[in-house]
Amino acid sequence: MGKELFNILIFPGLLFLCVFGLLAEFVDRKLYARLQNRMGPPWFQPLADFIKLLGKEDVIPTEADTAVFKLMPVVALSAAVAAFFYIPLWGTHALYYFSGDIIVVLYLLLVPTLCFFLGGWYSRSVYSMIGAVRSLTQLFAYEVPLFMCILAASLLANTWSLSEMAVFYGRHPGYWIFNSLGFVIAFISLLGKLEKVPFDIPEAETEIVAGSFTEYSGRLFAFFRMTIDVELVVGASLIAAVFLPFGLGVGQQLGFVVYLLKVFLLMALISLSRTIFARLRIDQMINLCWKYLAPLAFLQVLISLIIKWVLVK
């Protein structure tokens, strides 16, 4: 019992994720700044922002639905943290696993986006509502390619469990190469999920202020910010676990370092795309996802099926 609580609350659970999330935010901001020829923030800036927000007043609009408005940041954060327990990180096995945990992880990662939608919708501000609707519209665009790519990888491994997938790819070290198309698509979809440039449409500052978060302030906003940081780490970990399954059997300490390297590599790619792209329009984003990403993801599924038929008997 004590060990489980430690796992859930401290390591590799809530506290570790929050610290890692803040660190990831710092890396993202610093890298983004350096790529733009700026100084960038000091290492403690994300933490300082978080603490400062915690000390601020919570303003809840009179029109807003108070219960939903208050609940959403907490639900979003807990869902993102919960998803983390089922992802194999620096070993072949996650903290908890069972057959079918892929579905659970994808579902839990969907919850924060739904929370952004509900939180924005019940803020009852036009900017929030438009941001909320955009979050949901975007969700329908990127979710299908993302699911199909992860499905393709799991088809090859013939399992519904992320941990068993890690075992399979550990046993067949070269096989991740067959999923490289899926990796690219899943990464682009992840940008949509995390609402990062070029897909930061739901919180486009120059159009709808801050989208869903326009009315949020103080502690509630701090938790939303933390959710985004945690989601970043969890999303990157998921992609790393599914598409970059190497260095899993090298022991705890070294495995941990390899895991950090993988996540920071993905973080760097996210920062880079933030630097070199402009924000797309929602219709362009949907076109991109359905016209190009979804068929390519389908192709990845076909590739996996063929490879499985040929190689894995």
Binding site: Q36, V197, P198, T206, E207, A278, R279, R281, Q284
Partner: protein, 411 residues
Amino acid sequence: MNNPGDVKIPIGPQHPALKEPESFLLTLRGEKITSVNIKIGYNHRGIEKACEDRTYIQDLYLIERICGICSHSHSTCFVQAVEEIAGLEIPRRAKYLRTFIAELERIHSHLLWLGVAGHEIGFDTLLMYTWRDREIVMDLLAAITGNRVNYGINTIGGVRRDINAGHIDASLKAMDILEERTKYYVGIAQEEITLKKRLSGVGKLSYDDALRLGAVGPTARASGVARDVRKNDPYAAYTEIDFDLITDDHCDVYGRTVVRLKELLQAYKIVREVLKNLPDGPITVKAPRKIPAGEAVSRYEAPRGEDLHYVKSNGTEKPDRVKVRAPTLANIQAVSHMLEDGYLADMPIVVAAIDPCFSCTDRMISMHNCGTRKEEIVSWEFVHAKGIEWYRNKGIDFSQLNKKLHSMMNK
């Protein structure tokens, strides 16, 4: 047109997309804009009226403060009108120096615009890069005139500061660096996919519409209208300088970007030529304190388009009437046309594409009567009294402070 699915969304008077308070009330159907209601007038400063209470020399500095970006444009435009009334022929060197500062101003204004445009479409890297490069020309302006903005270089009858060999060297070096950087941005504009996707086909303004709605400056030139005061009605040293009038037939925001980028390259060329052919001689002629009675209209190609000043004098040292038509007033008419049937996401960039300067444009306060919900035009005294009353109701009383100030001034 009252569809139940329509959403009215206010952009402004306070909104992160706008740098100045203006109101755009958009009616949306989904993400599409069905109608636009533009309200300007949140930033009226009464400069035209204030000019009538000041002497011509004082007005010069007031006029310069109409706009923080194209300050030299307004002051040159005004000073040209005054010189025309007074019948002053300014020295050639002064003409060249005015042209020199004008082109440096165009460079910094266009670089600034490029950054703002990048920011509006969520491409902050472009903002950071162009504003970094803009510092080069800002430093140059500071070294030559003493100020980064509001250069204060014009005076009636010429310019106030001469340049030396050091300034010329520094300027030529800066032009080389800036030209190289600008070519890099041209490359970005031609190759970067998301940038092109966001700018092409957005804010369409056809050639006919540009003429009908009276667009000026880069907005008109991007629709193929060859309209540039520097060519059509040359002033300062533009008669003697060889440069190309840039037009483009994209008729959209992308075209406006291309026009501004090409104009930057032309500006470097003009600066080089001005410095090469800079004539010797005095930089100013003596101007009378009292300007003889008369009136004049002066035109000037500001970075945003044609600036127009009208000055009427009555033979005293103060003008009878000063009238300013900033380029934004000409372009704002086209904006609602450009926005209609567009996307909400394109609204910031379409508005930014005319390079708006609303406080230069604003000319009236419009008041809504809370009781009747009607718009009313009220007198200055009414607003003044209302302001005092409003502060008094909040517990702030300036009357004591005013008395103290007066007694201090009378000492």
